[in-house]
Symmetry: C2
Protein backbone atom coordinates (compact mmCIF):
# COMPACT_ATOMS: atom_id res chain seq x y z
CA UNK A 1 0.00 0.00 0.00
CA UNK A 2 0.86 3.68 -0.07
CA UNK A 3 2.43 4.24 -3.46
CA UNK A 4 1.89 7.16 -5.78
CA UNK A 5 -1.12 6.17 -7.87
CA UNK A 6 -1.20 6.51 -11.64
CA UNK A 7 -3.21 9.50 -12.75
CA UNK A 8 -5.61 7.37 -14.76
CA UNK A 9 -6.92 6.08 -11.46
CA UNK A 10 -8.09 9.57 -10.56
CA UNK A 11 -10.16 9.75 -13.72
CA UNK A 12 -11.78 6.46 -12.85
CA UNK A 13 -12.29 7.62 -9.29
CA UNK A 14 -14.03 10.78 -10.46
CA UNK A 15 -16.29 8.83 -12.79
CA UNK A 16 -17.29 6.33 -10.10
CA UNK A 17 -17.93 9.17 -7.69
CA UNK A 18 -20.16 10.91 -10.21
CA UNK A 19 -22.09 7.84 -11.30
CA UNK A 20 -22.30 6.07 -7.99
CA UNK A 21 -21.61 2.75 -9.63
CA UNK A 22 -18.74 0.87 -11.19
CA UNK A 23 -20.75 -0.18 -14.21
CA UNK A 24 -22.01 3.30 -14.90
CA UNK A 25 -18.52 4.73 -14.69
CA UNK A 26 -17.26 1.99 -16.98
CA UNK A 27 -19.82 2.94 -19.62
CA UNK A 28 -18.84 6.58 -19.81
CA UNK A 29 -15.14 5.82 -19.63
CA UNK A 30 -15.33 3.31 -22.43
CA UNK A 31 -13.99 0.62 -20.13
CA UNK A 32 -15.49 -2.49 -18.67
CA UNK A 33 -16.78 -3.00 -15.18
CA UNK A 34 -14.03 -5.40 -13.99
CA UNK A 35 -11.42 -2.90 -15.10
CA UNK A 36 -13.03 -0.13 -13.13
CA UNK A 37 -13.30 -2.42 -10.14
CA UNK A 38 -9.61 -3.22 -10.27
CA UNK A 39 -8.64 0.43 -10.71
CA UNK A 40 -10.66 1.50 -7.68
CA UNK A 41 -9.11 -1.34 -5.69
CA UNK A 42 -5.69 -0.16 -6.82
CA UNK A 43 -6.42 3.43 -5.82
CA UNK A 44 -7.71 2.38 -2.44
CA UNK A 45 -4.62 0.34 -1.69
CA UNK A 46 -2.34 3.07 -3.03
CA UNK A 47 -3.94 5.68 -0.80
CA UNK A 48 -4.32 3.22 2.04
CA UNK A 49 -7.94 4.19 2.52
CA UNK A 50 -11.35 2.77 1.84
CA UNK A 51 -13.03 5.03 -0.71
CA UNK A 52 -16.34 3.24 -1.29
CA UNK A 53 -18.50 0.75 0.51
CA UNK A 54 -19.75 -1.84 -1.96
CA UNK A 55 -23.47 -2.27 -1.89
CA UNK A 56 -25.61 -4.30 -4.20
CA UNK A 57 -27.11 -1.08 -5.51
CA UNK A 58 -23.80 0.55 -6.33
CA UNK A 59 -20.85 2.20 -4.69
CA UNK A 60 -21.43 4.43 -1.70
CA UNK A 61 -18.63 6.95 -1.18
CA UNK A 62 -16.97 7.15 2.23
CA UNK A 63 -16.29 10.45 3.99
CA UNK A 64 -12.74 10.36 2.70
CA UNK A 65 -13.92 9.93 -0.89
CA UNK A 66 -16.23 12.92 -0.53
CA UNK A 67 -13.38 14.96 0.86
CA UNK A 68 -11.27 14.06 -2.16
CA UNK A 69 -14.01 14.84 -4.65
CA UNK A 70 -13.03 18.51 -5.17
CA UNK A 71 -9.52 17.46 -6.15
CA UNK A 72 -10.86 14.98 -8.68
CA UNK A 73 -13.15 17.61 -10.15
CA UNK A 74 -10.28 20.03 -10.46
CA UNK A 75 -8.32 17.39 -12.31
CA UNK A 76 -11.21 16.77 -14.67
CA UNK A 77 -11.70 20.44 -15.43
CA UNK A 78 -7.99 21.01 -15.91
CA UNK A 79 -7.57 18.15 -18.34
CA UNK A 80 -10.61 19.32 -20.27
CA UNK A 81 -9.21 22.83 -20.46
CA UNK A 82 -5.84 21.48 -21.56
CA UNK A 83 -7.43 19.55 -24.40
CA UNK A 84 -9.44 22.58 -25.46
CA UNK A 85 -6.38 24.78 -25.46
CA UNK A 86 -4.32 22.23 -27.35
CA UNK A 87 -7.04 21.67 -29.90
CA UNK A 88 -6.44 25.13 -31.30
CA UNK A 89 -2.75 24.57 -31.70
CA UNK A 90 -1.53 27.13 -34.19
CA UNK A 91 -4.39 28.22 -36.38
CA UNK A 92 -7.78 29.51 -35.40
CA UNK A 93 -9.46 26.18 -34.87
CA UNK A 94 -10.39 23.87 -32.06
CA UNK A 95 -12.87 24.57 -29.33
CA UNK A 96 -13.42 27.68 -27.26
CA UNK A 97 -15.82 27.65 -24.35
CA UNK A 98 -17.71 30.87 -23.64
CA UNK A 99 -19.73 31.66 -20.54
CA UNK A 100 -22.21 34.50 -20.16
CA UNK A 101 -25.40 35.38 -18.36
CA UNK A 102 -28.56 34.00 -19.86
CA UNK A 103 -29.83 37.24 -21.30
CA UNK A 104 -26.54 38.10 -22.96
CA UNK A 105 -26.19 34.57 -24.27
CA UNK A 106 -29.64 34.58 -25.78
CA UNK A 107 -30.08 38.15 -26.94
CA UNK A 108 -26.66 39.33 -28.02
CA UNK A 109 -24.27 36.46 -28.62
CA UNK A 110 -25.96 34.30 -31.27
CA UNK A 111 -25.35 36.62 -34.25
CA UNK A 112 -21.79 37.29 -33.09
CA UNK A 113 -21.09 33.58 -32.77
CA UNK A 114 -22.58 32.99 -36.19
CA UNK A 115 -20.20 35.57 -37.62
CA UNK A 116 -17.26 33.90 -35.89
CA UNK A 117 -18.16 30.55 -37.40
CA UNK A 118 -18.50 32.10 -40.84
CA UNK A 119 -15.03 33.63 -40.74
CA UNK A 120 -13.43 30.62 -39.01
CA UNK A 121 -15.18 27.44 -40.12
CA UNK A 122 -12.91 25.13 -38.14
CA UNK A 123 -13.54 27.03 -34.92
CA UNK A 124 -15.90 25.21 -32.57
CA UNK A 125 -17.77 27.11 -29.90
CA UNK A 126 -19.28 26.04 -26.60
CA UNK A 127 -21.72 28.31 -24.81
CA UNK A 128 -22.37 27.90 -21.10
CA UNK A 129 -25.01 30.21 -19.68
CA UNK A 130 -24.54 30.86 -15.98
CA UNK A 131 -23.55 33.66 -13.67
CA UNK A 132 -20.86 31.88 -11.66
CA UNK A 133 -17.93 34.28 -11.63
CA UNK A 134 -15.32 31.71 -10.70
CA UNK A 135 -15.72 29.86 -13.99
CA UNK A 136 -12.57 31.27 -15.51
CA UNK A 137 -10.32 30.49 -12.59
CA UNK A 138 -11.55 26.93 -12.39
CA UNK A 139 -11.01 26.66 -16.13
CA UNK A 140 -14.63 25.77 -16.70
CA UNK A 141 -14.70 28.30 -19.51
CA UNK A 142 -12.16 30.15 -21.64
CA UNK A 143 -13.88 33.48 -22.23
CA UNK A 144 -16.49 35.10 -20.01
CA UNK A 145 -18.97 37.96 -20.38
CA UNK A 146 -19.91 39.30 -16.98
CA UNK A 147 -21.96 42.14 -15.52
CA UNK A 148 -19.54 42.85 -12.70
CA UNK A 149 -15.88 43.61 -12.95
CA UNK A 150 -13.74 40.50 -12.56
CA UNK A 151 -11.13 41.03 -9.88
CA UNK A 152 -8.73 38.12 -10.21
CA UNK A 153 -5.27 39.25 -11.16
CA UNK A 154 -4.51 36.49 -13.61
CA UNK A 155 -7.30 37.58 -15.92
CA UNK A 156 -7.18 39.93 -18.85
CA UNK A 157 -10.36 41.97 -18.89
CA UNK A 158 -12.01 44.84 -20.63
CA UNK A 159 -15.14 46.90 -20.13
CA UNK A 160 -16.98 46.60 -23.41
CA UNK A 161 -20.34 48.26 -22.91
CA UNK A 162 -23.03 49.23 -20.46
CA UNK A 163 -26.37 47.54 -20.01
CA UNK A 164 -29.53 49.30 -18.99
CA UNK A 165 -32.33 47.44 -17.29
CA UNK A 166 -35.85 48.79 -17.29
CA UNK A 167 -39.39 47.76 -16.44
CA UNK A 168 -41.54 46.32 -19.21
CA UNK A 169 -45.05 45.02 -19.65
CA UNK A 170 -47.10 43.70 -22.52
CA UNK A 171 -49.73 46.00 -24.08
CA UNK A 172 -52.49 43.62 -23.11
CA UNK A 173 -51.52 43.79 -19.44
CA UNK A 174 -51.41 47.57 -19.41
CA UNK A 175 -54.78 47.72 -21.19
CA UNK A 176 -56.23 45.54 -18.48
CA UNK A 177 -54.54 46.99 -15.38
CA UNK A 178 -53.59 50.49 -16.45
CA UNK A 179 -50.21 52.17 -16.68
CA UNK A 180 -48.58 52.84 -13.29
CA UNK A 181 -47.84 56.50 -12.72
CA UNK A 182 -45.24 56.19 -9.97
CA UNK A 183 -43.10 53.61 -8.27
CA UNK A 184 -45.64 53.50 -5.43
CA UNK A 185 -48.28 52.25 -7.85
CA UNK A 186 -46.19 49.14 -8.45
CA UNK A 187 -47.27 47.65 -5.14
CA UNK A 188 -50.72 47.23 -6.69
CA UNK A 189 -49.33 45.47 -9.75
CA UNK A 190 -48.15 41.96 -10.53
CA UNK A 191 -44.36 41.95 -10.53
CA UNK A 192 -42.22 39.28 -12.13
CA UNK A 193 -38.98 38.99 -10.21
CA UNK A 194 -35.96 36.98 -9.28
CA UNK A 195 -36.05 33.83 -7.22
CA UNK A 196 -32.70 33.84 -5.42
CA UNK A 197 -31.40 37.16 -4.14
CA UNK A 198 -27.73 37.31 -5.00
CA UNK A 199 -25.46 39.85 -3.28
CA UNK A 200 -25.33 41.84 -6.52
CA UNK A 201 -29.08 42.08 -6.78
CA UNK A 202 -29.35 43.01 -3.13
CA UNK A 203 -26.87 45.85 -3.51
CA UNK A 204 -28.41 47.24 -6.66
CA UNK A 205 -32.04 47.16 -5.55
CA UNK A 206 -31.56 48.90 -2.22
CA UNK A 207 -33.35 52.11 -3.34
CA UNK A 208 -36.37 50.19 -4.61
CA UNK A 209 -38.18 48.82 -1.61
CA UNK A 210 -41.05 47.36 -3.67
CA UNK A 211 -38.51 45.22 -5.51
CA UNK A 212 -38.46 42.65 -2.75
CA UNK A 213 -38.75 38.95 -3.16
CA UNK A 214 -41.94 38.78 -1.10
CA UNK A 215 -43.84 41.12 -3.43
CA UNK A 216 -43.33 39.16 -6.61
CA UNK A 217 -46.30 37.51 -8.30
CA UNK A 218 -43.98 35.12 -10.12
CA UNK A 219 -40.41 34.33 -9.18
CA UNK A 220 -37.84 32.82 -11.48
CA UNK A 221 -34.11 33.19 -12.02
CA UNK A 222 -34.41 32.35 -15.70
CA UNK A 223 -34.24 35.54 -17.75
CA UNK A 224 -35.84 34.02 -20.86
CA UNK A 225 -38.64 32.72 -18.67
CA UNK A 226 -39.09 36.20 -17.23
CA UNK A 227 -39.32 37.67 -20.72
CA UNK A 228 -41.78 35.01 -21.84
CA UNK A 229 -43.94 35.70 -18.80
CA UNK A 230 -43.86 39.43 -19.46
CA UNK A 231 -44.82 38.80 -23.08
CA UNK A 232 -47.72 36.62 -22.02
CA UNK A 233 -49.23 39.65 -20.30
CA UNK A 234 -48.96 38.28 -16.78
CA UNK A 235 -47.40 41.36 -15.25
CA UNK A 236 -44.57 43.85 -15.10
CA UNK A 237 -40.98 42.64 -15.15
CA UNK A 238 -37.49 43.89 -15.70
CA UNK A 239 -35.36 43.22 -18.72
CA UNK A 240 -32.37 44.60 -20.55
CA UNK A 241 -33.77 47.56 -22.44
CA UNK A 242 -31.60 47.03 -25.52
CA UNK A 243 -33.17 43.63 -26.03
CA UNK A 244 -36.67 44.43 -24.80
CA UNK A 245 -37.09 47.36 -27.15
CA UNK A 246 -36.87 44.96 -30.08
CA UNK A 247 -39.68 42.78 -28.80
CA UNK A 248 -43.04 43.70 -30.38
CA UNK A 249 -45.91 44.91 -28.18
CA UNK A 250 -43.64 45.39 -25.17
CA UNK A 251 -43.98 48.77 -23.47
CA UNK A 252 -41.49 50.40 -21.17
CA UNK A 253 -42.96 51.26 -17.77
CA UNK A 254 -41.88 54.22 -15.64
CA UNK A 255 -38.88 54.85 -17.88
CA UNK A 256 -37.95 58.08 -16.11
CA UNK A 257 -38.25 56.64 -12.62
CA UNK A 258 -36.61 53.23 -12.82
CA UNK A 259 -33.33 52.34 -14.48
CA UNK A 260 -30.56 50.00 -13.42
CA UNK A 261 -27.19 50.23 -15.11
CA UNK A 262 -24.50 47.59 -15.27
CA UNK A 263 -21.11 47.55 -16.88
CA UNK A 264 -20.50 44.70 -19.24
CA UNK A 265 -17.07 43.08 -19.00
CA UNK A 266 -15.26 40.53 -21.09
CA UNK A 267 -12.54 38.47 -19.45
CA UNK A 268 -10.16 35.64 -20.22
CA UNK A 269 -7.34 33.89 -18.41
CA UNK A 270 -4.11 35.60 -19.31
CA UNK A 271 -2.47 32.32 -20.28
CA UNK A 272 -4.88 32.05 -23.18
CA UNK A 273 -3.67 35.24 -24.82
CA UNK A 274 -1.23 33.27 -26.91
CA UNK A 275 -3.95 30.90 -28.04
CA UNK A 276 -5.05 32.09 -31.49
CA UNK A 277 -8.59 30.78 -31.21
CA UNK A 278 -9.24 32.21 -27.76
CA UNK A 279 -7.67 35.48 -28.79
CA UNK A 280 -9.92 35.80 -31.84
CA UNK A 281 -13.01 34.97 -29.80
CA UNK A 282 -12.04 37.46 -27.10
CA UNK A 283 -11.37 40.24 -29.56
CA UNK A 284 -14.36 39.58 -31.78
CA UNK A 285 -16.73 39.39 -28.85
CA UNK A 286 -15.21 42.51 -27.36
CA UNK A 287 -15.57 44.65 -30.44
CA UNK A 288 -18.99 43.27 -31.40
CA UNK A 289 -20.42 43.83 -27.94
CA UNK A 290 -18.91 47.29 -27.80
CA UNK A 291 -20.46 48.14 -31.15
CA UNK A 292 -24.00 47.37 -30.07
CA UNK A 293 -26.33 50.36 -30.48
CA UNK A 294 -27.71 51.92 -27.33
CA UNK A 295 -31.31 51.02 -28.14
Amino acid sequence: MSYEPGWDLYRTFEAVLRHGSLSGAARTLGLTQPTVTRQIDALESALGTELFVRTCRGMSPTAVALRLQPYAETLLQTTAALVRDASSANEVSGTVRITAGETVGIEYLPPILAGLRRSHPSLHLELSLSDAVEDLMQRKADVAIRMIEPTQKTLVKEKVNTVEIGLYAHESYLDRRGMPKSLKDLTKHDIIGFDTETPVIRAVTVPYSWLRRANFAVRTDSSPAQLAIIRSGLGIGYYQSRAASQTPNLVRVLEDQFTLCFDMWIAMHENLRTNPACKIVYETLGTALAAMPDD
Copy 2:
Protein backbone atom coordinates in the same frame (compact mmCIF):
# COMPACT_ATOMS: atom_id res chain seq x y z
CA MET B 1 -5.63 11.18 -33.83
CA SER B 2 -7.68 13.39 -31.58
CA TYR B 3 -8.87 11.10 -28.83
CA GLU B 4 -9.09 11.92 -25.15
CA PRO B 5 -5.67 11.07 -23.75
CA GLY B 6 -5.22 8.97 -20.62
CA TRP B 7 -4.31 11.08 -17.64
CA ASP B 8 -1.06 9.21 -17.10
CA LEU B 9 0.18 10.85 -20.27
CA TYR B 10 -0.13 14.25 -18.64
CA ARG B 11 2.12 13.18 -15.83
CA THR B 12 4.72 12.03 -18.32
CA PHE B 13 4.28 15.26 -20.27
CA GLU B 14 4.90 17.34 -17.17
CA ALA B 15 8.02 15.37 -16.31
CA VAL B 16 9.46 15.69 -19.80
CA LEU B 17 8.70 19.39 -19.79
CA ARG B 18 10.44 19.81 -16.48
CA HIS B 19 13.51 17.75 -17.33
CA GLY B 20 13.87 18.66 -20.95
CA SER B 21 14.67 15.09 -21.87
CA LEU B 22 12.94 11.77 -22.22
CA SER B 23 15.60 9.89 -20.33
CA GLY B 24 15.61 12.34 -17.45
CA ALA B 25 11.84 12.18 -17.15
CA ALA B 26 11.99 8.40 -17.24
CA ARG B 27 14.39 8.34 -14.31
CA THR B 28 12.18 10.37 -11.99
CA LEU B 29 9.02 8.61 -13.09
CA GLY B 30 10.51 5.19 -12.46
CA LEU B 31 9.88 4.28 -16.08
CA THR B 32 12.22 3.61 -18.98
CA GLN B 33 13.08 5.90 -21.84
CA PRO B 34 11.24 3.91 -24.55
CA THR B 35 8.09 4.02 -22.47
CA VAL B 36 8.29 7.77 -22.06
CA THR B 37 8.94 8.12 -25.78
CA ARG B 38 5.84 6.11 -26.59
CA GLN B 39 3.71 8.07 -24.15
CA ILE B 40 4.78 11.42 -25.55
CA ASP B 41 4.10 10.13 -29.06
CA ALA B 42 0.69 8.98 -27.90
CA LEU B 43 -0.09 12.36 -26.33
CA GLU B 44 1.01 14.22 -29.42
CA SER B 45 -1.16 12.14 -31.69
CA ALA B 46 -4.08 12.35 -29.26
CA LEU B 47 -3.87 16.13 -29.13
CA GLY B 48 -3.02 16.33 -32.82
CA THR B 49 -0.12 18.65 -32.08
CA GLU B 50 3.63 18.49 -31.99
CA LEU B 51 4.72 19.09 -28.40
CA PHE B 52 8.48 18.71 -28.66
CA VAL B 53 11.12 18.91 -31.32
CA ARG B 54 13.55 16.04 -30.92
CA THR B 55 17.10 17.17 -30.77
CA CYS B 56 20.16 15.18 -30.01
CA ARG B 57 20.55 17.10 -26.77
CA GLY B 58 17.04 16.45 -25.54
CA MET B 59 13.48 17.50 -26.13
CA SER B 60 12.81 21.13 -26.94
CA PRO B 61 9.23 22.17 -26.12
CA THR B 62 7.18 23.84 -28.82
CA ALA B 63 5.10 26.95 -28.19
CA VAL B 64 2.05 24.76 -27.72
CA ALA B 65 3.79 22.68 -25.07
CA LEU B 66 4.78 25.80 -23.18
CA ARG B 67 1.20 27.01 -23.34
CA LEU B 68 0.02 23.74 -21.87
CA GLN B 69 2.60 23.75 -19.10
CA PRO B 70 0.43 25.61 -16.54
CA TYR B 71 -2.29 22.99 -16.92
CA ALA B 72 0.20 20.20 -16.33
CA GLU B 73 1.54 21.93 -13.25
CA THR B 74 -1.95 22.36 -11.89
CA LEU B 75 -2.54 18.66 -12.37
CA LEU B 76 0.67 17.82 -10.56
CA GLN B 77 -0.12 20.07 -7.62
CA THR B 78 -3.67 18.81 -7.40
CA THR B 79 -2.70 15.16 -7.35
CA ALA B 80 -0.06 15.89 -4.72
CA ALA B 81 -2.64 17.69 -2.59
CA LEU B 82 -5.09 14.83 -3.04
CA VAL B 83 -2.55 12.31 -1.84
CA ARG B 84 -1.68 14.50 1.14
CA ASP B 85 -5.31 14.88 2.08
CA ALA B 86 -5.99 11.19 1.69
CA SER B 87 -2.92 10.27 3.70
CA SER B 88 -4.63 11.36 6.87
CA ALA B 89 -7.73 9.31 6.31
CA ASN B 90 -9.41 9.25 9.67
CA GLU B 91 -6.81 9.69 12.35
CA VAL B 92 -4.21 12.37 12.83
CA SER B 93 -1.57 10.98 10.51
CA GLY B 94 -0.28 11.48 7.02
CA THR B 95 1.36 14.59 5.64
CA VAL B 96 0.47 18.24 6.08
CA ARG B 97 2.28 20.93 4.13
CA ILE B 98 2.77 24.28 5.83
CA THR B 99 3.90 27.50 4.20
CA ALA B 100 5.14 30.60 5.99
CA GLY B 101 7.50 33.49 5.59
CA GLU B 102 11.14 32.74 6.20
CA THR B 103 11.39 34.54 9.51
CA VAL B 104 8.30 32.89 10.93
CA GLY B 105 9.39 29.51 9.65
CA ILE B 106 12.81 29.81 11.22
CA GLU B 107 12.15 31.73 14.43
CA TYR B 108 8.71 30.61 15.60
CA LEU B 109 7.61 27.39 13.96
CA PRO B 110 10.33 24.85 14.80
CA PRO B 111 9.40 24.35 18.49
CA ILE B 112 5.70 24.25 17.59
CA LEU B 113 6.30 21.65 14.92
CA ALA B 114 8.40 19.64 17.36
CA GLY B 115 5.50 19.66 19.78
CA LEU B 116 3.13 18.51 17.08
CA ARG B 117 5.36 15.63 16.21
CA ARG B 118 5.62 14.64 19.87
CA SER B 119 1.88 14.49 20.33
CA HIS B 120 1.21 12.91 16.93
CA PRO B 121 4.11 10.65 15.97
CA SER B 122 2.51 9.48 12.73
CA LEU B 123 1.95 13.03 11.54
CA HIS B 124 4.42 14.11 8.87
CA LEU B 125 5.09 17.78 8.26
CA GLU B 126 6.37 19.66 5.23
CA LEU B 127 7.55 23.23 5.59
CA SER B 128 7.75 25.51 2.56
CA LEU B 129 9.17 28.96 3.24
CA SER B 130 7.95 31.55 0.77
CA ASP B 131 5.70 34.56 0.66
CA ALA B 132 3.54 33.62 -2.31
CA VAL B 133 0.00 34.24 -1.15
CA GLU B 134 -1.66 32.12 -3.79
CA ASP B 135 -0.16 28.91 -2.45
CA LEU B 136 -3.33 27.79 -0.74
CA MET B 137 -5.58 28.24 -3.74
CA GLN B 138 -3.18 26.38 -5.97
CA ARG B 139 -3.02 23.67 -3.33
CA LYS B 140 0.73 24.01 -3.05
CA ALA B 141 0.28 24.00 0.70
CA ASP B 142 -2.39 23.03 3.20
CA VAL B 143 -1.89 25.56 5.97
CA ALA B 144 -0.38 29.04 5.60
CA ILE B 145 0.97 31.66 7.98
CA ARG B 146 0.85 35.07 6.37
CA MET B 147 1.53 38.68 7.30
CA ILE B 148 -1.36 40.07 5.29
CA GLU B 149 -4.99 39.12 5.54
CA PRO B 150 -5.92 36.41 3.02
CA THR B 151 -8.90 37.52 0.98
CA GLN B 152 -10.06 34.43 -0.89
CA LYS B 153 -13.52 33.37 0.15
CA THR B 154 -12.89 29.65 0.18
CA LEU B 155 -10.36 29.97 2.97
CA VAL B 156 -10.85 29.73 6.69
CA LYS B 157 -8.61 32.24 8.36
CA GLU B 158 -7.84 33.73 11.73
CA LYS B 159 -5.74 36.61 13.01
CA VAL B 160 -3.44 35.00 15.56
CA ASN B 161 -1.01 37.68 16.63
CA THR B 162 0.78 40.86 15.68
CA VAL B 163 4.39 41.20 14.65
CA GLU B 164 6.56 44.19 15.35
CA ILE B 165 9.55 45.00 13.22
CA GLY B 166 12.33 47.20 14.50
CA LEU B 167 15.84 48.30 13.60
CA TYR B 168 18.76 46.34 15.05
CA ALA B 169 22.52 46.46 14.97
CA HIS B 170 25.33 44.51 16.55
CA GLU B 171 27.18 46.05 19.48
CA SER B 172 30.44 46.02 17.55
CA TYR B 173 28.91 48.09 14.76
CA LEU B 174 27.51 50.68 17.14
CA ASP B 175 30.84 50.89 18.98
CA ARG B 176 32.52 51.63 15.69
CA ARG B 177 29.98 53.95 14.04
CA GLY B 178 28.05 55.35 16.98
CA MET B 179 24.36 55.12 17.83
CA PRO B 180 22.12 57.12 15.51
CA LYS B 181 20.07 59.73 17.32
CA SER B 182 17.35 60.32 14.73
CA LEU B 183 16.01 58.81 11.52
CA LYS B 184 17.97 61.44 9.60
CA ASP B 185 21.23 60.01 10.94
CA LEU B 186 20.47 56.76 9.19
CA THR B 187 21.51 58.20 5.85
CA LYS B 188 25.07 58.21 7.18
CA HIS B 189 24.85 54.55 8.22
CA ASP B 190 25.12 51.23 6.42
CA ILE B 191 21.60 49.85 6.01
CA ILE B 192 20.78 46.22 5.25
CA GLY B 193 17.60 46.07 3.21
CA PHE B 194 15.36 44.16 0.86
CA ASP B 195 16.24 43.33 -2.70
CA THR B 196 12.86 43.28 -4.47
CA GLU B 197 10.35 45.91 -3.49
CA THR B 198 7.00 44.14 -3.16
CA PRO B 199 3.75 46.15 -3.10
CA VAL B 200 3.41 45.41 0.61
CA ILE B 201 6.84 46.78 1.39
CA ARG B 202 6.23 49.81 -0.77
CA ALA B 203 3.00 50.65 1.03
CA VAL B 204 4.42 50.15 4.51
CA THR B 205 7.64 52.11 4.04
CA VAL B 206 6.09 55.27 2.59
CA PRO B 207 6.78 57.38 5.71
CA TYR B 208 10.45 56.35 5.79
CA SER B 209 12.16 57.96 2.85
CA TRP B 210 15.62 56.71 3.84
CA LEU B 211 14.29 53.15 3.56
CA ARG B 212 14.75 53.09 -0.20
CA ARG B 213 16.38 50.42 -2.21
CA ALA B 214 19.08 52.75 -3.51
CA ASN B 215 20.33 53.57 -0.01
CA PHE B 216 21.02 50.03 1.10
CA ALA B 217 24.59 48.92 1.67
CA VAL B 218 23.56 45.29 1.26
CA ARG B 219 20.38 44.03 -0.38
CA THR B 220 18.88 40.61 0.13
CA ASP B 221 15.39 39.16 0.36
CA SER B 222 16.49 36.39 2.65
CA SER B 223 15.54 37.22 6.23
CA PRO B 224 18.01 34.79 7.80
CA ALA B 225 20.73 36.30 5.64
CA GLN B 226 19.71 39.77 6.83
CA LEU B 227 19.95 38.66 10.43
CA ALA B 228 23.32 37.03 9.87
CA ILE B 229 24.63 40.19 8.25
CA ILE B 230 23.35 42.31 11.12
CA ARG B 231 25.02 39.96 13.60
CA SER B 232 28.29 40.18 11.72
CA GLY B 233 28.36 43.89 12.51
CA LEU B 234 28.05 45.04 8.92
CA GLY B 235 25.32 47.56 9.55
CA ILE B 236 21.80 48.34 10.70
CA GLY B 237 18.92 46.17 9.54
CA TYR B 238 15.32 45.43 10.36
CA TYR B 239 14.05 42.29 11.98
CA GLN B 240 11.08 41.00 13.90
CA SER B 241 11.62 42.36 17.38
CA ARG B 242 10.26 39.28 19.14
CA ALA B 243 12.99 37.19 17.57
CA ALA B 244 15.74 39.79 17.53
CA SER B 245 15.47 40.49 21.25
CA GLN B 246 16.56 36.92 21.93
CA THR B 247 19.73 37.26 19.91
CA PRO B 248 22.75 38.11 22.06
CA ASN B 249 24.64 41.37 21.48
CA LEU B 250 21.92 42.75 19.23
CA VAL B 251 20.79 46.26 20.13
CA ARG B 252 17.59 47.93 19.13
CA VAL B 253 18.12 51.18 17.27
CA LEU B 254 15.77 54.18 17.41
CA GLU B 255 13.12 52.12 19.17
CA ASP B 256 10.88 55.10 19.77
CA GLN B 257 11.11 56.39 16.22
CA PHE B 258 10.83 53.33 13.99
CA THR B 259 8.34 50.48 14.32
CA LEU B 260 6.43 48.53 11.70
CA CYS B 261 3.46 46.41 12.72
CA PHE B 262 1.93 43.53 10.84
CA ASP B 263 -0.96 41.25 11.65
CA MET B 264 -0.15 37.58 11.58
CA TRP B 265 -2.80 35.37 9.96
CA ILE B 266 -3.26 31.65 9.74
CA ALA B 267 -5.29 30.27 6.87
CA MET B 268 -6.39 26.97 5.39
CA HIS B 269 -8.64 25.86 2.54
CA GLU B 270 -12.11 25.33 3.94
CA ASN B 271 -12.32 21.87 2.43
CA LEU B 272 -9.57 20.73 4.75
CA ARG B 273 -11.57 21.46 7.88
CA THR B 274 -12.82 17.89 7.92
CA ASN B 275 -9.29 16.54 7.59
CA PRO B 276 -8.18 15.57 11.10
CA ALA B 277 -4.49 16.16 10.50
CA CYS B 278 -4.91 19.55 8.85
CA LYS B 279 -7.37 20.58 11.53
CA ILE B 280 -4.93 19.72 14.31
CA VAL B 281 -2.10 21.54 12.59
CA TYR B 282 -4.26 24.60 12.00
CA GLU B 283 -5.49 24.72 15.56
CA THR B 284 -2.16 23.94 17.19
CA LEU B 285 -0.33 26.53 15.10
CA GLY B 286 -3.07 29.06 15.75
CA THR B 287 -3.02 28.72 19.53
CA ALA B 288 0.75 28.40 19.78
CA LEU B 289 1.38 31.49 17.66
CA ALA B 290 -1.26 33.42 19.59
CA ALA B 291 0.36 32.45 22.88
CA MET B 292 3.75 33.89 21.96
CA PRO B 293 4.91 36.55 24.45
CA ASP B 294 5.19 40.10 23.19
CA ASP B 295 8.92 40.27 23.67
